[in-house]
Amino acid sequence: MTKIVATFEVSYTQILNKSGKLTGPLPAFAQDPEKLIELYRAMVLSRAFDAKAVSLHRTGRLGTFPSAVGQEAVCVGTASAMQETDVFLPSFREHGAQLIRGVTLVEQLLYWGGDERGSDFSGPKKDFPMAVPVGTHAPHAAGVALAMKLRGEERAAVCLMGDGATSRGDVYESWNMAGVWSLPVVYVINNNQWAISLPRSAQSAAETLAQKAIAAGFPGEQVDGNDVIAVYDVVDKALKKARSGGGAHLIEAVTYRLSDHTTADDASRYRSDEEVSARWSEEPISRMRTYLTESSAWKKEDEESLLAECAKTIEAAVEEYLATKPLPPESMFDYLYAELPAAYAAQRAAAVAASDENGDD
């Protein structure tokens, strides 16, 4: 005898299509044009910051930087749906989300400029710093969520990762934990189709990345990752479920990386200009602008003043970043442990002495 013992379905949600037309009913939060404008403004600021960071890198004033052009809706939609008391665990391409969480532009510039103070967030005190080793933050999110569950709090963890991360063992292990312990955590995959040079089709034979959650015993769904309204909506619902004891959720936001992987990458080595150009028609910002303009919520003057405002905000942050002096060498030692063990004293003194001899700041 053979019978079917399990079946599954994976949904795909889109509310605003690439032409800026509604393809589904507007969720309640989106009935308020001010809310939509807020999301739009955040995406525009994120992209403007992106461009500035890349130019700072090109002129030698910032280290390697991972652009997120084209993926603004994933970051902005996800972080906007979070409550302040939730915890955000980012990968390294989520400056748009971190901005909304309250990580300042100066902090982000400091981090990519090579200064640890960039992860000492003045805003979201419990949010995690960026996870550079791909997918290694997935277990942290499960741990944060377990802490919330053990204390019976109405909070949730949100972990954002790329499509490449879903091939990693620790991501599967974390999902397994999130499922079996019904943890209040929402995993969001920024499926931008490329893990440096490896396309999505070569990353996994699974039809969707979302369905990987089903094997771990919790729901997974796809969303149009270029539609900020849809991203906000599905993350919002998943978070409400997680905070009220409904367990984990996986959202695969389907988008496209319009930029190189980082400033150290040259994407023309592995994908054609035609492919990238075609994808520009789907990007999240212009469709939202079209929708807002057509619904009379946004005018040309609004756009002009927004761009000027973004430029001003970013310029001020850049100035502050560039004026920030590097940390003294002993700071390498001062946060290693709560209290520096005696065994380190000689090395710390040597670092200070070497710096004094060199006449460093």
């Binding site: 000492d120 710093p129 934990m177 946060y335 063990p341």
Partner: protein
Amino acid sequence: MTEHTLVGAVNLSLAKALEEDETVILFGEDIGVDGGVFRATDGLVDRFGKDRVLDTPLAEGVLAGMSVGLAAEGFRPVPEIQFMGFIYPALEQMISHASRLRNRTRGRLTCPMVLRAPYGGGIHAPEHHSESTEAMFAHIPGLRVVIPSSPRRAYGLLLSAIRDPDPVVFLEPKRIYRAVREDFEDDGEGMPLDSCFIQREGTDITLVSWGAMMHETLAAADQLAEHGTRAEVIDVATLRPLDMDTILASVEKTGRCVIVHEAVRSNGVGAEIAARIGEDGLLSLLAPVGRVGGYDTIMPLARLEGRYMPSTERVVSAARRALEFE
């Protein structure tokens, strides 16, 4: 006073930590109803409940990774890895995250956790159950690596490790889990981390060791004493940060030193100690610093295990070479 084995002391220490601090939680494979494969957590789930003593699915890497998340949220997780041979999936989390969280956030997030694992050979266990790879962790800034050599020290050092605000790798020498018993009170007294213990005072040679090898080392000191040599014996106990002051002071007194460890000889903690004596204690030395370790081989299966493990005789003969050097 009650007599305790080393594994019993671990159990007592964990119970005390759970009792005194509600943020302490234990988790690992088979640690709940089964009480752990070595029974280190025997009875704890009954006393403290399933929210404090959690049986986890089989995934070592995620145990360490979840600890980072729990610790950042104010818990003090104490995950157990069943055998050190299975600890390697947890390495990435300990190196890339646990050890760095305080530093990379300038103290905004911290990682008070204790990763416990039984380690070392000598119990005729299956493949991958007998290695001593403490040097891997001792290489990592931001971690503490602590190894007890007796029941009393297991109790006190583990309590201090759990109370410590930073991540600790706590390696338990399983060969002596039940080999010795010691009298002590379950008084909640911790023992100092970051300090060597002078186990026996002497004037003629310094023998340095840690973990289960303390027993061969002390036996060697006994044999040397029969011939009138008074060996000073030091239990390193914390491999990172390393208390070289105590070791150098001893070598200044004795002029001779032999380091004994079960781990492979090359690139180990013994090499670091020998190098530091060379850098900071050369003029005290009357003989080259000797090392007795496991061979630079794969840890053999049970039949040859006894041939691999440093014996009392090997320690004695290394000490004699140092004593007879002119």
